[in-house]
């Protein structure tokens, strides 16, 4: 039996970026955990003022978008251009919903007096979700790039690898949010 050659999605180089980003977010998470250990009561009390409904909705929105991106990349590989574009548009809408809900959440927090200077929990809440939001914004750009690629009739191997790499970036955005959601909203 001949085993198929192992396939790494995207160009191998894209993983330098993805792993590098994950390592740095790992440092961010560790910093947050360290700060939380300094003031566990404050962090737990502040956590309860967060809106879990918005956080959970955003998690589901991003999970849905990730699923759409997986299906879209598959469709691009099978040159089903119409389906791929539709899926990517759906993922893009999910990304925009996420950004919109974040804006609603931020506005609510600030009008309720929860600003970064209030305490360390809110300082980290705004910084970590802000850095993640920055990733989502870049991800939206990546999705638009993927849509332009989905329109092409035939993709070269390099272009296909770029498409897969872009998809992987969106999954990273999703993955980081899941960890962030657990860390900020759930862990007591």
């Amino acid at each position: 039996m001949i085993r198929p050659a192992p396939h790494v999605p995207g160009e191998p180089g894209v993983w330098i970026f993805l792993f590098g980003d994950m390592v740095v977010f790992g440092v961010f998470f560790a910093t947050f955990m360290y700060q939380r250990a300094q003031a566990p009561e404050l962090f737990d009390a502040s956590r309860h003022t967060l809106n879990i409904a918005i956080g959970l909705t955003n998690t589901l929105v991003l999970l849905t978008s990730s699923l759409l991106v997986v299906t879209a990349v598959r469709a691009i590989r099978l040159s089903q251009r119409g389906a791929a574009q539709l899926m990517l548009a759906g993922a893009l809408v999910c990304g925009l919903i996420f950004i919109g809900l974040k804006a609603v959440e931020y506005t609510g927090k600030v009008t309720a007096g929860h600003v970064p200077t209030q305490n360390n929990f809110y300082l980290y809440f705004f910084i970590l979700t802000g850095l993640h939001l920055f990733h989502v914004l870049i991800g939206v750009g990546v999705l638009i790039l993927l849509m332009t690629q989905a329109r092409r009739r035939n993709l070269t191997a390099t272009r296909m690898a770029v498409v897969e790499g872009g998809g992987c970036f969106w999954h990273l955005v999703d993955l980081l949010w899941i960890v962030l959601f657990a860390l900020l909203y759930l862990v007591s």
């Binding site: 180089g13 590098g20 910093t31 990733h135 790499g165």
Partner: protein, 243 residues
């Protein structure tokens, strides 16, 4: 000779990275950074107690930071080679390269000024100190722009033998993204995004160091690629395009 000079330029960048760390860290003692939450008196005290070493470290930086320029010249030349002519990307790279050493020089001038007159009003010293940190840590835009142009250039390089490997694209994007939080220091006096914070200072500084070293290695490889190309051209008696 040509190849030797260009490789020397690449390594000079790494040497200057080491020089910068020695001057700022060990001589001036400005790394690790002082807290932005200090009062004017506390800040002024640091500049008067350590005035001499701060002035010596920063004076050396003012003299030597221009040694970054050959490294940046080589970087711009390699972008020019990918672009094929003096187009927008290579010219922007040249212009941003001009600003690079000034990022160190201008901040050093403010730091020296803060330490120059220990007898003066602490509020003035604090203001000068703020300017030092605002430029040193906060002025990340030119660097990020430079790195994004480099990444884009390598990304669209369609030549048979490209000067840089593909992964270098993503490495540069990684660096650009981690450099961005530096721009937030103007909004914080404590926490990870203050000028002495983990996200705004330590991670960008580490990544900057890694980037300088990796880019120097990649530039020496690009010089080899170019030299091989020249040799092949000479063997085929082709005219060399004006570089």
């Amino acid at each position: 000779m040509h190849v030797t000079i260009e490789k020397a330029a690449a390594w000079l960048g790494v040497a200057m990275l080491g020089g910068f760390l020695v001057m700022f860290w060990f001589i001036a003692g400005l790394i690790p950074p002082m807290s932005p939450a200090l009062t004017a008196e506390q800040t002024a005290r640091i500049y008067s107690d350590h005035g001499l070493r701060i002035r010596i470290g920063l004076a050396l930086m003012l003299l030597f930071c221009w040694l970054f320029t050959p490294f940046l010249a080589l970087l711009s030349r390699q972008v020019r080679r990918i672009e094929g002519y003096w187009g927008v990307m290579s010219l922007t790279q040249v212009m941003l390269s001009v600003t690079f050493p000034f990022g160190f020089a201008v901040c050093a001038v403010f730091g020296v000024a803060a330490a120059y007159r220990p007898e003066r009003n602490p509020d003035v010293t604090q203001a000068l100190s703020d300017l030092f940190w605002f430029i040193f840590v906060g002025l990340v835009g030119p660097l990020i722009m430079q790195v994004i142009i480099l990444a884009f250039c390598v990304f669209i390089d369609r030549r048979q033998v490209p000067s840089f490997p593909r992964w270098f694209v993503y490495f540069n994007i990684w660096y650009a993204m981690l450099g961005v939080p530096g721009c937030a220091i103007y909004l914080f006096k404590t926490g990870p995004l203050a000028w002495n914070g983990m996200f705004a200072f330590w991670i960008p500084l580490t990544v900057f160091g890694i980037w300088m070293i990796v880019t120097a290695i990649m530039l020496t490889r690009a010089v080899d690629v170019e030299a091989a190309e020249r040799k092949a051209r000479a063997a085929n008696r082709e005219w060399e395009p004006a570089a």
